[in-house]
Symmetry: D2
Subunit: 325 residues, 4 copies
Amino acid sequence: MARLRHIAVLASGGDSPGMNAATRAVVRTAIAGGAQITGIMRGYSGLVAGEFRALDARSVSNVIQTGGTILKTSRCEEFLRPEGRAKAAARLRDAGIEGLIAIGGDGTFRGLHALASEHGVAVIGVPGTIDNDVFGTDATIGFDTAANTALESIDKIRDTAASHDRIFFIEVMGRRCGALALAVGVAGGAEVILVPEVPVDLASVCGVLEEGRRRGKTSYIIVVAEGAYEGGAQAVAQAVKDRLGISYRVSVIGHIQRGGSPTAFDRTLATRLGRAAVDAILGGETDRMVGVTCGEVALVPLPDTWEKKKPVDLDLLKLTTIMSS
Amino acid sequence: MARLRHIAVLASGGDSPGMNAATRAVVRTAIAGGAQITGIMRGYSGLVAGEFRALDARSVSNVIQTGGTILKTSRCEEFLRPEGRAKAAARLRDAGIEGLIAIGGDGTFRGLHALASEHGVAVIGVPGTIDNDVFGTDATIGFDTAANTALESIDKIRDTAASHDRIFFIEVMGRRCGALALAVGVAGGAEVILVPEVPVDLASVCGVLEEGRRRGKTSYIIVVAEGAYEGGAQAVAQAVKDRLGISYRVSVIGHIQRGGSPTAFDRTLATRLGRAAVDAILGGETDRMVGVTCGEVALVPLPDTWEKKKPVDLDLLKLTTIMSS
Amino acid sequence: MARLRHIAVLASGGDSPGMNAATRAVVRTAIAGGAQITGIMRGYSGLVAGEFRALDARSVSNVIQTGGTILKTSRCEEFLRPEGRAKAAARLRDAGIEGLIAIGGDGTFRGLHALASEHGVAVIGVPGTIDNDVFGTDATIGFDTAANTALESIDKIRDTAASHDRIFFIEVMGRRCGALALAVGVAGGAEVILVPEVPVDLASVCGVLEEGRRRGKTSYIIVVAEGAYEGGAQAVAQAVKDRLGISYRVSVIGHIQRGGSPTAFDRTLATRLGRAAVDAILGGETDRMVGVTCGEVALVPLPDTWEKKKPVDLDLLKLTTIMSS
Amino acid sequence: MARLRHIAVLASGGDSPGMNAATRAVVRTAIAGGAQITGIMRGYSGLVAGEFRALDARSVSNVIQTGGTILKTSRCEEFLRPEGRAKAAARLRDAGIEGLIAIGGDGTFRGLHALASEHGVAVIGVPGTIDNDVFGTDATIGFDTAANTALESIDKIRDTAASHDRIFFIEVMGRRCGALALAVGVAGGAEVILVPEVPVDLASVCGVLEEGRRRGKTSYIIVVAEGAYEGGAQAVAQAVKDRLGISYRVSVIGHIQRGGSPTAFDRTLATRLGRAAVDAILGGETDRMVGVTCGEVALVPLPDTWEKKKPVDLDLLKLTTIMSS
């Protein structure tokens, strides 16, 4: 098979810090590898619409430290349908683009796989999402930054919690995955962490609060993944109040978790994976995600990334119990 | 009048970054001035209940950089009634405490003034609140830190807003005062700032968005002080949507605005005002707040601090209009 | 006099955080005022060489939060000589530029004044320097950010100083002005602050250390403005060691003080002054600096900015003595 | 063997962020495991001198987010000699302490191993050092924080480098190990990274600069591990200047790399390893370090930690070459 001469890169789904570092790595590795590189704006929407932009090494100067994505991103209904993907494939063909690298999460990878299966486009996925819920990679680009952002917020809230002797329910992102809640809960010294993987046991939460009250403990941090309980942190706080009659505060950390300058870890991860994606696609691979496992870059079949369930480290819940004693 | 030999310090109301720096300054200035210094825990609640703690120079080591308050704080119903204040005065008398320094906002100062008026306790107030809504001082302790905390959040949200071409309504603290919203709105490059001092003109907000759309502008930051509109940012966003049919995101920055390590400005302000409070009370002053005006420390009658209205700089709204053009 | 129709903006001297916010304000105010605006690259070097770039509102999108200067800056030998300035004036004339706004410190303003005097160019200066040593304005753009950056470093170093029971001499910027050292020294809880405005009294520094040793104090932070002592922090540390035989560590905070995202204060200041500069020059003013005094924008004759000495608040030294007791 | 009933914990060598999180985990796990826990102040110095302090769960409240070490640390000459260690063993025996957990780097572990070998004390090491140069663990506590601290400095310096078109040589910690330089060099977008593991090739460094000049590149970041070149960044900068005659700036990031609030990663790592250390020692293990390999906690014979060489990922140098193209 002839080596590809022209590839494209896009970002899709929710933005995550480090997407620009990954884009930079894709662009510069492509150029160093003698390939032409095109940026596709606004994810699959821009792919279907043909919003293409030629990129060179300077296009990605001074972006390694930035959050968001210079390629912009979106969620695209049209691409979910075969006709949308057919249009996209035609756009690539018309532009002479032989391979596509997409940075995003499992939704992005489903689309990518369908495009490859239906139209024979060479594709490689790069895991960029703050949720760290993608099978086949120990870490996704943006997770470490989001964890540190959420942690800084928890540290700030603890100032107030301790000063006012208050119970705080803090909601962090994670609709189906508790990885972020676990990471920041342990690191933030939370007394309780609630995750989607484990049904919330209100009696046990109340037990922790009552036991603490007996020992004279006056302030608490309870970290709640948004998907841990129907209605999120607000609902679980109210349910606890209904049982114990205590007052509480709720803080939803929200969108700031997606933004900000990426951490050292995320920038290095993004740079390594961006390069690996180009090496893979130029080397003839397709329908794979580049991930990192035990420090080594690995290629994973795209369907594995959403069909297989990435385990979260539930031992961290036990650790939390010991630490809050 | 004989110089006071024993004074006390407390924090009251919502905590603000720099309260510990102020407490440290009060303690060390008192000691340097030959006076005994007692800490009162949990604000007026602890005063009524007699939760006193002897302080020395080491008690306030390594706290200048911390958020929250080592003295803890609360809101106290009992102190709002004359009997509560009588109890408080008795507590002070019994402990041999001749003067009281209270760090807080206008609610704190009302209580302080009542205590002085009714029981002849020498009192000095120190303005510590993130709202910067206290007449008689250019700045309150904690405002600068809160502004920078909110600004960092806005910077992070802008990453996402720009990447997704979205309109964000961001709610910052400020129930009756738009100072924080104005500070972070201008600094955050917001297109619109809504404050309690100016009735929200929905038509004008919609006009800015429509005018921008015509010029191809795709992302917006609208900063909303929580008291600018009934229902806050969520309500104003919905009202705009009802008119224009556009989609939007809301982010409520919330409690993190109260916490965190104080800025250089807040630490220096707190240190200066804490010292000035002790100098004033030991020098025979009472019923005053220490403030800073044009860089100089000034004493202000306590009632002025809530009876007179501190103006906000509404010219910053005009500045916003020019900048978002 | 007819209103100017075409003005230019440049940055000169050491970069400071907020220069971009000021540039943005200049550009957008000019456009809102109906004037054409040109950016001059690399300060006076670019002016002499004719490195001009047309600017519009989009040229300054997304820069309010950035450090450094998008206009680039330099120090220019040629502009110090009359021939250089003649060349510069000709460049402006040839491009149809009727007024020049320069962002920088006193060196920048001397050049600006000479250009105005010799060639009748309308000029306005905007104070952008981390040193805060410019007469006629309470604050210069970048000073607040630099203070917070240096303070974060001091906070980190204190972790180590306290853990190892060490004496740290920390050098901050300030060759002729102690404003930064005073700000971060007080805010950083330093035991001693050395500034250029007060001759270093080694016996007194040693006295503080020996007195502390008697009281069991084991770690110290001594903040040294680079110009406070010949040879900086390293030299003063060695001199103290020669007297007391104690060991110490030195940390020179260095260039990081110039960079980073500007604080809320600096961004608002920059935005206000940038706008005021354009209002002034379009309104017919020249040979002035825009400054802020007690919160109000004021125009100051350029020669005043370097001929008159801005006082530093030496009372902060007394405050330091009280606080370290 | 009977389960241990009383253990102790100390920190030794250079402090690193996360030591307090590890100490907290040791204390709380010990208590949860029914063992008595004693803190030894000032590392091996305090061990020899008998500076012991009883710890309970509250002793480690509110320290998870702090830098430095509440146990203090030192380097101890006496402990390097057999008599010193004999004294230490006697101190432990006299206090009824049956096991010792030490947090530090390879120097700490050598002492720990000698103590175990010579006196039969049960010992476990916890890797806490910003250098990440300990064999047997993928990460040491503090490395991730130090990398992010150094990276923030590099980001700030780049503002100035880009604004002034300058070449910056930035020195980061790492006398014998380039891990930190590699991590921040890649993440900071450095054009060149110099590490102790690879002899510095001045001709090649000059080649990169000259090649860049040809392409119009005007600013550079060169990251230098302190041990990469005799004399550090200053010396290598001078050597480059001697060859090319270009001007440059040097920034030594220095002691701030040791301090600061630990990152989410470091806090979680510290918590996991602190708990694992107690589980190991109470479970009868000795002469081991607890490390983490591929996400799993592992026990490593102490001598391995310094006898075996931990490889650094030199492929990151190649990555740097591709990225700076």
